[in-house]
Symmetry: C2
Subunit: 394 residues, 2 copies
């Protein structure tokens, strides 16, 4: 008889899978995904980069390569970490992973024994929660407000709990809420983790996609004790289909990530790495990111205008200054899954917020994505959402 | 203070890493790797496939895609599984993974709680042992002989042990020994697993690379109870740099692999999948595999001739009928790690066998790879190996 591991009882992909079935109908207006806008991918230029790599180095591009990753790409990433994120680092402190999700899987394996504690924002990224669950930790959610984690609550937990192995945070345009942490919260947070000496996983897929306001320093840029593990990715600034991301961490911690990558998948795709490095060498990635930002800013503006127009005043939402998402808080008595059913009947999809709370007890929230939807569709979709919410008002 | 999970104590990449440093010196003659011959990669044709994909479907190729994998590629794989492996299957029973190593990682997560038992051939693939170790199982090694696992020993263990979660085997040109299981052993094995109803991971990266003899049916082709999970890969028949492999399993078990892939890495590279599918559509992959076989057969012949000529009669080795490896058994009093040091001083590298025994108590074996070495170099290297062995004879 086939017996599975206990961790398999914790995994439930069916809810999202069921929704994906609905989404595969072409007439559905989806605000459910988290995809970048594919019309922005630099297809021509990536094709040129691919040609050069194949002509000059084709056989090497198709061969196995090192676990740590292609040196030119690690140097380019380190260079961006210095210039964009204010992190003093170099190629030796970068490990290329096949997507940031893989970095989350490694984080779980490196730090978590069964029943160890993970602290994270409430709510937090569903995919991270699922990755961590395979190591069967206990999740403690730290309450958040508009400008980030509530630090007094974090300290209370750090004082009280044993076996806290790491804190997982997304300070920049968080998935799902779209919020960013204030500078003051970032500084307070670093003081706290330095005091308690607890590792931090700083996940930053969206930080470069800022529509307004001053660029905010990453937690990693304040890290003097080597406690912050930084996860970056090309998925939102270039394209996700190559599956390329990176970990930036201290020598000792990065060595563990390297061991886990050897054990899990040997390496990231050689050809993806060489083609991406060639694209960055021959093109201006910053200019490309600026173009993406222009497009997303317009869609964000449309989304905010539509929410202002159609949501009843009983709802709140994030005025996202960057990233791909906004977050709607419904009146407390409302169930976003009920609302989801009503909206799906009218071919409008979103993600109910409950999955983003690992201990699952919040029903009145939902996530909206605006990066892949045209102006008219945003208005049409939000009008339907607003109408259905109004029907559920008490 | 940073505290790691207990599993990190089990991981030791340093031995191989130290050797990799030696191997990076260009003058070293290496029989240590397990790489395919890069001069055989179809660079031109993959470039053509890449151009077509990028021109016709570039934006989709760069976007996220489904966890199960690109449909055309799954259909092509299912078709090969039917024609080459005699497995009655279809695209719905194929999951694309970013390399077979990832399939091993998923296997561990799906079946293994701490202290559960994994059965495997003694010796077995080092990379599988490392992948499984992250779930902290207990390994029980089943003794093997020239034509495969010793079935009476397997039954003894199955009778005695509780919590056996799966049996991991490589019946075709095994890594590290180069051996293949006889037809009779395959049939006996299936009778046994059907009786005990224990899942099997059949890892088959080398099966298509047969130099002589009749094609042997896979275990999966005999599987009537849905107990066999089959792992296949493009790494050895096309190229490893794209990181593409697959799992073929029953609906129920494949669903678990899909969940683990969602949690670990979301999906395999979209662009790698589309380009590989296009290559297979436009070219004759079987003809390509036939070309690889011709080259490897010559190198195998050279390796066998050199071992006949230079090894003292006190040594035994596998007359590999396929795959990338042969396996040398030294006299029992000899330590392959000592021999390795002596050979490295003379710039010849191989992998001592001890790492292939998870419970680590065999010192007098070593693995030799012949897929990437030219004729003269095989003779020069084996001459040095033979000389150093002779110096250690008692």
């Amino acid at each position: 008889m086939v017996k599975y591991a206990n961790r398999m009882n914790l995994q439930n992909g069916s809810e999202i899978r069921d929704m994906l079935k609905v989404l595969s109908q072409p007439e559905v207006l989806s605000f459910a995904g988290g995809m970048p806008a594919k019309e922005m991918f630099p297809v021509e230029k990536m094709m040129e980069a691919a040609m050069k790599v194949m002509k000059e180095n084709g056989a090497d591009a198709m061969q196995y390569s090192s676990t740590e990753g292609f040196l030119e790409l690690r140097e380019q990433i380190a260079d961006r970490m210095v210039k964009k994120q204010g992190v003093k680092t170099d190629a030796d402190h970068i490990l290329i992973t096949p997507g940031s999700q893989m970095g989350l899987d490694f984080s779980a394996k490196i730090f978590l024994d069964k029943d160890d504690v993970v602290l994270l924002e409430s709510p937090s990224y569903l995919g991270a929660i699922n990755a961590f669950k395979t190591c069967e930790p206990r999740f403690i959610e730290i309450p958040t407000e508009e400008d980030g984690m509530i630090m007094s609550e974090l300290e209370k937990i750090l004082d009280k709990e044993k076996n806290i192995k790491f804190i997982y945070v997304i300070p920049d345009f968080q998935n799902p809420t779209g919020r960013e942490w204030s500078l003051q919260k970032r500084k307070e947070f670093i003081d706290i983790i330095n005091k308690y000496e607890v590792p931090v996983i700083e996940d930053n897929p969206y930080g470069e996609l800022r529509f307004e306001g001053e660029s905010m320093p990453t937690l990693k840029s304040f890290d003097t004790k080597g406690l912050v593990v930084y996860l970056g990715t090309f998925s939102k600034i270039l394209a996700p289909g190559y599956r390329l991301a990176w970990v930036c961490a201290s020598t000792e911690i990065l060595e563990k990530y390297n061991l886990m990558e050897q054990a899990a998948c040997l390496q990231s795709s050689t050809i993806s790495q060489m083609e991406t490095a060639r694209y960055i060498r021959d093109n201006d990635l910053d200019a490309h990111v600026a173009e993406i930002i222009e497009v997303y800013r317009k869609r964000r503006n449309e989304m905010m205008a539509a929410l202002d127009e159609y949501l009843p005043k009983e709802c709140k939402f994030t005025r996202s200054r960057g990233g791909l998402f906004t977050w709607v808080v419904l009146p407390e008595y409302m169930d976003a899954k009920e609302l989801q059913k009503k909206c799906l009947e009218r071919k409008v999809a979103f993600v109910p917020g409950s999955g983003f709370y690992p201990n699952g007890n919040v029903k009145n929230t939902l996530r909206l994505n605006y990066s892949t939807t045209a102006k008219e569709d945003i208005h049409r979709g939000m009008k339907i959402l607003g109408e259905e919410i109004k029907k559920m008002l008490k």
